[in-house]
Symmetry: C2
Amino acid sequence: MKKIINDPTTVVEEALHGMAEAHRDLITVQFEPAFIARADAPVTGKVALVSGGGSGHEPLHGGFVGAGMLDAAVPGAVFTSPTPDQILDATKAVDGGAGVLHIVKNYTGDVLNFETAAELAAAEDIEVSAVVIDDDVAVKDSTWTAGRRGVGGTVLVEKIAGAAAARGDDLAAVTAIAQRVNAQVRSMGMALTPCTVPHSGEPSFTLAEDEMEIGIGIHGEPGRERVKLAPADEIVATLLGSIVEDLPFEAGDNTLLFVNGMGGTPQIELYLAYHSASKYLKDKGIEVTRSLVGNYITSLEMQGMSITLLKLDDEFTQLWDAPVHTAALRWGV
Amino acid sequence: MKKIINDPTTVVEEALHGMAEAHRDLITVQFEPAFIARADAPVTGKVALVSGGGSGHEPLHGGFVGAGMLDAAVPGAVFTSPTPDQILDATKAVDGGAGVLHIVKNYTGDVLNFETAAELAAAEDIEVSAVVIDDDVAVKDSTWTAGRRGVGGTVLVEKIAGAAAARGDDLAAVTAIAQRVNAQVRSMGMALTPCTVPHSGEPSFTLAEDEMEIGIGIHGEPGRERVKLAPADEIVATLLGSIVEDLPFEAGDNTLLFVNGMGGTPQIELYLAYHSASKYLKDKGIEVTRSLVGNYITSLEMQGMSITLLKLDDEFTQLWDAPVHTAALRWGV
């Protein structure tokens, strides 16, 4: 295992210290239990957004804490759900009196622990609602999931719902926006290489030198099929074909196209894949008016990518464009 | 070779199409010869900044084209200098009548080709000055260099000189700022794994499973020494020890700390290394008031990192904080 670490058991904690030091103006990090919160939390009268999940997907979620996006992020151990007490403490820390929205990726442990935390928060008179993200079209159920997995769409939900909260929407309205984004977004990923969880020291799976995994999950869990390597245009057609057919997206639709790196893929390949996707969608008459390209929801050092497509309406576009100030996404401020 | 590409010979061209499509509001891309320019270039009366070099280091340089940073970027083939005609065309396209600064990383081919382009531009009555970046303390001369190599400091020069041009400094003043940043910045890198140039199909070097290369160049060219893997704190102490001693940086200095990923390193490791660096500098009494963490000058999918330290003064800090709107760095706008 080749990693820039000191000790496999302290990776998350040390990285959180680094985040806190690098972004002192933006965030504070609590330990025991661990969570990342906006430096100015709680924001009185604003609906607060809390997300979280296993570490190893950075910048998700801690990189999205700040004005216009998340109020807190709760990191578990690598690829491991955060505990209810972490989620509860984060929820209490950022509640500004207008209620808290939990944004939960659909993995069994995450869903259960966020539910438990929400019940505990309710017992302390904090109003909590939740949206479960399940945008991955690759598989119906998976190793770690009943139903579809939550992947790249999560980033878009966090940005758009965060902007709705920032403009003053109440908890019901912010929750409805988050649910509406989740209903209009679809994703699918693929991997060229596995990744290695520091604690285990072994790759999560193996792929031959001429193989790739289509429909991979963000923990390296199996996807749809293991196939021979193919050109970028074919890979993109496979991913986008499944995505477009699923919603379905149709000619004339206005979309946001998000090409996401899995952590170990160079940017030159992501832009090349963006070009493939752009050609594919143009052929179908689907318009792209907003874009995101880069490593935003990753699987440690895995090489591969996911594609996410969101059907835009005027409100989504306006909320996407609204100012955001986080470590990983920033504009307008 | 596992890559998301269609054809090793068209990687750069296809990725440039993807960049142009993803950032239509920000940049335009020309082909034959290839360069990336600000969508609103030329900006009349403003000193224009042009940089460039081999592809494979993305987001450097194309990701830094936009308001407050570069006016144009000239991409060569992967790890290959751009040609004089590319540089000349970019220079002519963005000259707004106030002259053009060439920001050149110190590699023999780059230096020669930028010099030739500058002479050709001068023959067309465009005033050109140049700054050669040589911030890498790892080796005195290298495979591809007489003198030190230009690495992570280039990003900081482009940002700070770009802000000076945006505020209306003339060519001599912008050039002087760029030279002053280069004089105050030092870098050093390391690699855990090699990278593979698409055209060659073979890794640029090999490292055993328990080895790393200290002082690596951004093309995988040899550094100071090949040693056994070590904990992050030791790696950081080796890099920062050489950096701090070289300038030298001293107790009480105010600095910008830049922890850069080589392309294949997960963000969790970069923040962990940032924490190591933060501890190291605190011990020496060196203050960090500005930070940058992420993949900004890369070597395709190489795993590893570089550390860059810039001694800040009030003017550098002000110019660093000034608004910037590019694909890879954006704030204040």
